[in-house]
Amino acid sequence: MRMPDALWGIRCVWLRYFSVFYKSIGYYLVTTFIEPILYMLSFGLGVGSLIGSFSAGGMHLSYRSFVFSGIIAQTMLFQGFYEGAYGGFIRMYYQKIFHAISVTPITLSEVLWGELLWDASKAALAAEVVALIGVASGDFPLHCLFTLIPLAFLGSLLFSGMGLAAAGFARNIEQLSYPQYLLVFPMFLFCGVFYPIERLPAPLQVLAWVFPLTSVASLARTLTLGFPFQIRTIPIILFWLVLLLFLSRRAMFGRLVK
């Protein structure tokens, strides 16, 4: 009896987000998909033409393919984090949506799950669009669109949790800059999106593996380009996923419930 009730509540919240997305589809198409496409064009075509092909992961491949695959992971990071952090903060603090829904038969716990699952769904969709472009350009095989789905969703959920945790801990919207500059940008630049982390000095490589984007990017390359599967990616992703989901919910409960 309880379980279906909770699922119904989460579904209601998810549908609320979906209907906002659907109503403003034009706005969301621009804000969700333009950014990764610009990265693909700039790095894939621009930098890619400079580098041509090179060796990575024991394979010889074009830089364009390499970076397109990295942008799949980066899209999960940016879309998940920003929707959770800024979107979450605005909905929690300015719009007070969490509060408005949590005095109906839907509980705050369900509202937060709905928020996380929606943020993750949207980021996963954006990551899949990047993969689709990679398929269309002949860089990835068609079947990777399906095999990517679990990674796209869990990776996006992980970074949405990071964003929502940041929203829960931030006292004001400016404070969201801390995780943005201290966590998101360093990951974006040092976790293997734009170059193989093997090019980094050994200590930095170890550090890069601590952060989840390295594992997400590594798995994305395994699924899209056939890079060797690295077993450590699974425990690293699961560890961060559980930690960030826990932290995001704890921060939000601590923030909202006195």
Partner: protein, 265 residues
């Protein structure tokens, strides 16, 4: 079916880290009754409402909404609850009509029933011509009306209104009073927090004066006035040298009990 006391608060205590906001308060509100909760800022009114809506857990005591303990069965309990909080919590991503219809879905109301209910409420609250307007385009007073309307969406057995008439023009205030009259006839138990003493005196069957987290007295407005204000009329200096004689009212009781400003007694 509504139970005879749709809202029952028993020995509610709410302690925050550093202070006790509500100390052992109890009251019941019958179906069709309007119960006023009056008190200065910081007296514990909003905390009480947060506890009633199950958003803040009570430190001690129990709250029953239509017979369901809000801490043990929050979903069932809140199925009978409509809340209009003091702060604006409208979902600005929706139009006026969608706002209501969406809120109805949180109560498991079907699509047709939701739409019909939303239309009825927009008519009742004079918002029908704004149905398609985005919420953010509404003036403060219209937003307030919409938020009260939203609280009524699922025919609540318990209606909790925190300062519902703040920012409303006299016309809208009267319209809202009429709506509350109809809600009362429907059998809803209404908990009204307000700083407008004339409003409390007019609408409430009983009022409780909350001061520093405790109910210091509760009775019908007429009884409170006759018990606490010995004279029938009060003389008040409204401007230097200008004195008004008027009938003693609930405000005199309130001021006397929560920190006397007038020298009546």
């Amino acid at each position: 079916m509504l139970s005879s006391f749709p809202l029952s608060v028993s020995h509610l205590t709410k302690r925050y880290a550093d202070f006790e906001a509500v100390s052992d308060i109890s009251f019941e509100v019958a179906g069709g009754e309007c119960f006023g909760l009056l008190g200065p800022n910081g007296a514990g009114k909003s905390t009480t409402i947060q506890c009633i809506s199950g958003f803040y857990p009570a430190t001690n005591g129990h709250i029953f909404l239509n017979g369901h303990d809000v801490s043990l069965e929050p979903k069932l309990a809140r199925q009978s609850l409509g809340v209009c909080s003091q702060e604006e919590t409208l979902d600005s991503d929706f139009t006026v009509f969608d706002q209501l219809a969406r809120h109805a879905s949180y109560f498991r109301m079907g699509r047709t029933a939701s739409a019909e209910r939303a239309r009825r409420l927009l008519d009742e609250f004079g918002l029908a011509d704004k149905a398609k307007a985005p919420v953010e385009n509404l003036s403060g007073g219209l937003k307030r009306r919409l938020q009260v309307a939203r609280a009524l969406i699922a025919f609540p057995a318990v209606l909790v209104l925190d300062e519902p008439t703040v920012g409303l023009d006299p016309d809208a205030r009267r319209m809202l009073w009429e709506v509350l009259g109809r809600e009362r006839e429907r059998g809803a138990a209404i908990l009204l927090c307000t700083h407008y003493m004339d409003e409390a005196e007019r609408l409430c069957d009983r009022v409780a004066i909350l001061h520093k987290g405790r109910i210091i007295d509760a009775d019908s407005p007429a009884n409170l006035i006759s018990r606490h204000i010995s004279r029938e009329t009060v003389e008040e200096e409204v401007r230097p040298g200008v004195y008004w004689k008027r009938r003693a009212n609930l405000e005199d009781v309130y001021l006397k009990l929560t920190g006397s400003r007038l020298g009546v007694a």
